[in-house]
Amino acid sequence: MQLAELRGHKQYADRAFSVLAVAAAGLVLLILGMIALVMTRRAWPAFGAQFFTSTRWSAADQVFGALPFVWGTLYTAVIAIAIAVPISLGVALFITQIAPPWLRKPMVYLIDLLAVVPSVVFGLWGVLVLSQHFGLGRSFLTAGIILSIMITPIITSLSREVIETTPASEKEAALALGATRWEMIRASVLPHSKGGLVGAVMLGLGRAMGETIAAALVIGSALGQITTNPFAPGNSMPAVIANEWGEADEPHKAALIALAVALFVITIAVNLIATTIVQRSMKRSRGA
């Protein structure tokens, strides 16, 4: 009887909990949906064919083509990835495979610390040190370097977690066959964690594309730049929004909101793909 009473109580609590959880989850979706809806409505007048094809962005002539900014966003993110991925993977492998146990905790802590530095600090550092002291100027490359520092922690910590799921048996099997540490990493750790690592990189990519202030400070704010020259000044979607919003009138404002919507869609797509890849790889490694 006591048990039944308890169970009844439990069921009640269970139901309350699930209602709360569903409500919370629903609220997040609702907020996301509302943001998308309101923004798209405000941006609607700016979405024309030229928004996706034109390379001109002129408030005076009311021509708003987003193409150079989409290019700048993707290009700086790719530069950031190219720099951050080898470093992050190296750090993750060092922490999990090579570092003595007493060093692991402080290393993890130090890397995570990078993630909490406000982006404006990175931006200012970029302006003062990279642009001026090292003479890189304001360019795609400067922005890419700053972004790479900002996404290193997220890629490192995700990679570390994925790598740690490699079963000891697989590693020991490789070592037992006479593999060196590097051969062991190549033969068992990397194949095992491949999917998760790709996901980690893509999450970093999403972060790099959405970064605003640091990019706005160092990217150079040049219009109409679609070039692969990393030393050229350019612009990215969030940087344009941050720079121009304060003094914008309609329809300039609508165009900036349209940029935001486009950025929203791109980053959500990248993040969705990333999570799918991570989840699939997790499932596979758990199944193994």
Binding site: S58, A216, G220, A222, A242, N243, W245, G246
Partner: protein, 362 residues
């Protein structure tokens, strides 16, 4: 997100620091016992907070004026957030603030969207935009509007170009590349600078005017006036448009610019005030000080307004706001020169004071 930049962050810190916070409780007694330091006294009432936002151009003056005014009127607390003229106008339209600072007025089409009805414009100061440069061995530079236009749209790429030489007879100009610096953020300074070129060099200037314009890609962009000043200071061969106070603060050299009368004029607070004398002012106190007539006028002079609603909703607030605006256009003007701003010329100041009567306080 507005111009979220380090410089405005620093400026915001300064506001917080500079406005010595008055405790509002015992404020009114303090106001009664205080000696009058020339600041207009607001009629006694409970503690009032007035909020303003907008133009970063007039912000240094607002900070000093607010400090002086609230010292004399301890029951009034005033906040002025920057954010740019566009933000100020929007905030006032949405009635988020009690007054806006703006370097250019509302567009006619937007006036109907103002929730509080008709607005009044009070001009509060004039300021010069310098053409600052960094060229070794050139300590004196003269530029005509056409040459400035050609430089900034990258038709002229060398310092020893014939157009520059023609403006500077006898000067030794180096064979150095010109680096053009401009604002990366939307800005009233850019708006007024490009409006000037659009008027004074209309046959040459091709980039039109606005808070942001289509600068050629081979130019450098900095955030805020200090950002442009910083590029000019650190780059050999650089030239950029920077407001007078930031140019002086950064120790930059700047050019004398040819005005309508054909004279090359140095940007100073006096030559800006002189520009204010040579302009046509409309009945609603709207005007443009750009490219003003007059022998002594510095031509790239611009203006900024405080904008308020004609019909105030609250007695205490409206009264305090009215006396603060009065302070800005009368007694406060003495604070302008040390900040490298130009006071309003007498005629304009009188018109502004007369317009105070149009503020209706219930």
């Amino acid at each position: 997100m507005y111009k979220m930049i380090a410089f405005s962050a620093f400026a915001a810190l300064c506001v917080a620091g500079c406005n010595k916070k008055k405790e509002e409780g015992g404020g009114s007694t303090a106001a009664m016992t205080k000696e009058d330091k020339g600041a207009a006294k607001a009629p006694e009432s409970g503690p009032v907070t007035i909020n303003g936002s907008g133009s970063t151009f007039q912000k240094p003056y607002q900070e000093v004026a607010i400090d002086a005014f609230t010292k004399a009127n301890a029951s009034v607390k005033i906040n002025y957030g920057g954010g740019g003229s566009g933000k100020g106008r929007q905030d006032l339209a949405d009635q988020v603030v009690d007054f806006a600072g703006a370097d250019s007025p509302y567009k006619d089409a937007d006036l109907a969207k103002n929730k509080g009805g008709d607005v009044l414009y009070f001009p509060i100061l004039l300021g010069a935009i310098t053409i600052s440069y960094n060229v070794d061995g050139v300590d004196k530079l003269q530029l005509s509007p056409e040459t400035i236009a050609r430089i900034f749209q990258r038709d002229i790429k060398k310092w020893n170009d014939k157009d520059i030489a023609a403006d500077n007879p006898g000067a030794k100009l180096p064979d150095a590349d010109i680096v053009v610096a401009h604002r990366s953020d939307g800005s009233g300074t850019t708006d007024n600078f490009t409006k000037y070129l659009d008027q004074a060099a209309k046959d040459v200037w091709k980039l039109k005017s606005g808070a942001t314009v289509e600068w050629p890609a081979d130019t450098q962009a900095g955030t805020g006036n200090p950002g442009v000043a910083q590029i000019v200071k650190s780059t050999k061969g650089a030239i950029g448009y920077v407001d007078l106070s930031d140019a002086k603060a950064s120790g930059l050299k700047f050019a004398n610019v040819k005005n309508q009368a054909g004279k090359f004029i140095e940007p100073t607070t006096d030559s800006s005030s002189a520009a204010g004398d040579g302009i046509d002012v409309k009945d609603n106190l709207l005007f443009s000080a750009i490219n003003a007539k007059g022998d002594a006028s510095y031509p790239i002079t611009y203006q900024t307004w405080a904008i308020v609603y004609a019909k105030q909703a609250d007695h205490a607030k409206g009264t305090a706001l009215k006396s603060f605006i009065k302070f800005l256009i009368s007694d406060g003007q003495a604070q302008l020169k040390p900040l490298d701003f130009a006071p309003l010329p007498k005629g304009l100041a009188d018109k502004a004071v007369a317009q105070l009567d149009k503020i209706q306080v219930p």
